[in-house]
């Protein structure tokens, strides 16, 4: 008799637990169903409002290369040849970089710096990787006086995109919202190396290395204010052999934190 009673009691006690378990499972199924359904909806109307989920797209493009052209260099160690994408009148026959030349396919006169544009729809941080450093780029035995540096300017190579460029050097105080490379809220960093003035009035030339270099922590997107330009400066050692010299750069963008 006692056994039958306890059996009935246990059944009575476990039945609600079973029900709860089944309800929990059902709720989980319903929750997953709605969760999946929500992701698949790209737009729906609720009380006259249309909600559209736009996916984040990190994307950048390089709009120009640098081709200094052909020329001779100085063999005098006391008077080495220097050329720059920021110079209006480069040494000898090398391209004059003060004017805008052709596009990326114009192999004749591309000499305005490498322009990097954010053509996605999110802020990105941009990193630059160089294939060669100073010793890799030059073939000189001594490398005496050799120099290969870069600097980063806000805006495009035509220098007419951002308000900062239009206003010119000395007017950087107009605010980060008018710049392409803005301040990253988490890291507090922006363009790097920083401080270069437009039109080369002062450039923060930094020696190129093969280590990845974060040149912009928060590059904006949109039709304007979405480009930075990497400028280059070279000084040739007197014993640099003749021939074609080239260096490749890879620019990598990822959504800014």
């Amino acid at each position: 008799m006692g056994t039958t009673e306890s059996k009935t009691e246990e059944k009575t006690n476990k039945t609600p637990i079973l029900k709860v378990l089944v309800i929990v499972l059902l709720l989980a199924v319903v929750g997953i169903f709605f969760s999946v359904l929500k992701d698949k909806i790209t737009g729906f109307v609720t009380q006259g409002n249309v909600e559209v989920n736009v996916q984040a797209l990190s994307s950048l493009s390089v709009n120009s290369n640098v081709y200094f052209g052909n020329g001779t260099i100085s063999n005098d160690p006391a008077n080495l040849t220097s050329i720059s994408t920021e110079e209006g009148d480069n040494y000898g026959e090398f391209n004059n970089c003060s004017v805008i030349n052709g596009g990326i396919n114009d192999t004749g006169r591309d000499c305005t710096g490498i322009e990097v544009e954010n053509n996605g729809n999110v802020y990105i941080n941009v990193t630059m990787d160089a294939l060669n450093n100073v010793s890799g780029f030059f073939s000189s035995q001594t490398l005496t006086g050799a120099d290969f540096t870069f600097a980063v300017l806000d805006g495009n190579r035509t220098k007419n995109e951002t308000a900062m460029q239009i206003m010119g050097a000395g007017n950087e105080g107009i605010g980060p919202n008018n710049a392409s490379c803005q301040i990253n809220g988490n890291t507090g960093t922006s363009i790097s190396p920083s401080g270069s003035y437009l039109n080369g009035s002062w450039m923060n030339w930094t020696t190129i290395s093969t280590n990845p270099y974060a040149i912009c922590s928060n590059l904006s997107f949109g039709d304007g204010n979405d480009t930075i330009t990497v400028e280059f400066n070279l000084t040739f050692p007197a014993d640099e052999p003749v021939g074609l010299k080239s260096n490749s750069f890879t620019f990598t963008g990822a959504q800014a934190d």
């Binding site: 059944k11 499972l25 997953i32 992701d39 020329g71 990097v116 003749v242 080239s246 990598t252 959504q255």
Partner: protein, 79 residues
């Protein structure tokens, strides 16, 4: 007697069908859960990097002095 009662109790505690249904539902839920996580990773959580290349080129020509010197050497040899 007591042992038999306990065994019968255990056997009759939850019907096998119920266990089977719960098992299937659990598997379905797990599958849906994994699918949901992977689906969201594809669209929202993975932050793919994008890259593009640029290039600097310059051609150094022989200087005029070097050319003259070379020509002189050739003349000397010919002479």
């Amino acid at each position: 007697m007591k042992e038999n009662n306990i065994k019968s109790l255990v056997k009759e505690d939850i019907p096998k069908k119920t266990v089977l249904v719960l098992l299937v539902m659990t598997m379905v839920i797990v599958a849906l859960g994994i699918w949901t996580v992977l689906d969201r990773m594809n669209y929202n959580q993975i932050n793919p990097k994008t890259s593009a290349g640029g290039e600097i080129k310059i051609k150094i020509l022989p200087s005029t002095n070097e050319t003259v010197t070379t020509q002189q050497n050739i003349n000397t040899v010919e002479g």
